[in-house]
């Protein structure tokens, strides 16, 4: 086991614990909890058994397993980023609606 695996695993386990506690405190709903637990578990597995990614690499025709992991990570990050931006925009619009409503009411 390499040092990076140990540090990484510790980090991931801490995050999974945090996710679980957030779920328990109802800060996270069930789908979000399952999603994040799944993501972090996959990361944990890949950290210890990098060879499992080779299976996917062969399947997809990508050279190395670790490359597949990186490609997917980037894809997921962009997806989440996009979702955050789009949710922020919605929120900004909603805030404007509220501010507008108040100003039209007060006059």
């Amino acid at each position: 086991m390499t040092l990076i695996q140990i540090i990484g695993a510790g980090f991931v386990i801490l995050i999974i614990i945090k996710t679980a506690s957030d779920f328990k405190k109802k800060k996270l709903n069930l789908p979000a909890f399952l999603f994040w637990t799944f993501i972090w578990t996959v990361i944990l597995v890949v950290a210890f058994l990098p060879q499992v990614t080779n299976f996917f690499a062969n399947l997809l025709g990508v050279g190395r397993g670790i490359d597949v992991a990186i490609y997917f990570s980037i894809l997921i990050i962009f997806f989440i980023l996009f979702q955050i931006i789009s949710r922020l925009e919605t929120m900004k619009r909603e805030i404007t609606e509220i501010v507008r409503h108040i100003s039209l009411k007060e006059k």
Binding site: I85, S86, I95, E97, V99, R100, L104, E106
Partner: protein, 246 residues
């Protein structure tokens, strides 16, 4: 009164007719203002010649904008927090429509537009030739700081690319809408990128657009408040987001 009704008996040459039509229409001027205590009074004074229905939307200013506007005796709607140009315009348009406005004019609060040009902008609307009029600073060849000229051209191009409509001044703050156009605008909520939002609505609702040349009065003050380079870059990013999240 209905704008369509006017079409029949109006002609450009009959100027007496024009002023007669003008006097029975409910014209509303909307001034979105953010920290404009220095100019707002003068701008309101200038507009008063043409309409008494003036709405100032104070977009969360922390100076005396509201106070000065109220002293001028116009309607003031105040946003409790700053929401940006689009949000302020949307509030003003909504307020004007609720008061049964026939024609809605928007004008910047920084004094860069000359109120004397209001009649020219109203003409195509009153005559029924257009649903939307944009006061364009680029139809007349006039002096304008070069970086602003280039920046504007760039935004016109982007607007065309993203939203499929060409305007010589897509970012102009001096616009006139008839009732139909104002009602078909989506609820405006954005910041500086509102100009392109309006363009999209013009396109999708098949509104007739006309541009009328206007002069822009550039002072170092109004320059410091417009879209500088970084704001421009930010607007561009938001336009992009607007485009892909739609």
């Amino acid at each position: 009164m209905d704008c369509e009704k006017i079409q029949g008996n109006f002609s450009y040459n009959g100027l007496t007719n024009y002023s007669a039509e003008l006097s029975i229409m409910r014209i509303y001027a909307i001034i979105p203002a953010y920290n404009e205590e220095r100019n707002i009074g003068k701008v309101i004074e200038g507009i008063k010649k043409y309409t008494n229905n003036i709405i100032v939307v104070d977009d969360g200013s922390n100076d005396g904008t509201s106070k000065i506007a109220r002293k001028e005796g116009v309607k003031v709607y105040r946003h409790i927090i700053n929401r940006g140009l689009g949000g302020a315009l949307g509030t003003g348009i909504k307020a004007a429509l609720s008061e049964n406005a026939d024609i809605i004019l928007t004008i910047d609060a920084d004094g860069q537009h000359d109120p004397e040009e209001i009649p020219n902008l109203l003409k195509p609307i009153v005559s029924g030739d257009a649903d939307v009029v944009i006061g364009s600073r680029f139809l007349k060849n006039q002096r304008m700081p070069i970086f602003r000229k280039t920046g504007n051209y760039f935004f016109n191009f982007i607007t065309f690319l993203f939203f499929g409509i060409w305007s010589t001044d897509s970012q102009s703050g001096m616009r006139v809408f008839n009732k139909k156009a104002a009602e078909s605008l989506r609820t405006l909520t954005s910041g500086m990128e509102v100009s392109s939002e309006i363009m999209t609505d013009i396109k999708t609702n098949e509104l007739r657009l006309k541009e009328v040349p206007i002069r822009a009065i550039y002072t170092s003050y109004s320059l410091s408040k417009g879209q500088g380079f970084w704001v421009g870059l930010k607007t561009l990013a938001k336009l992009f987001i607007l485009k892909i999240t739609k």
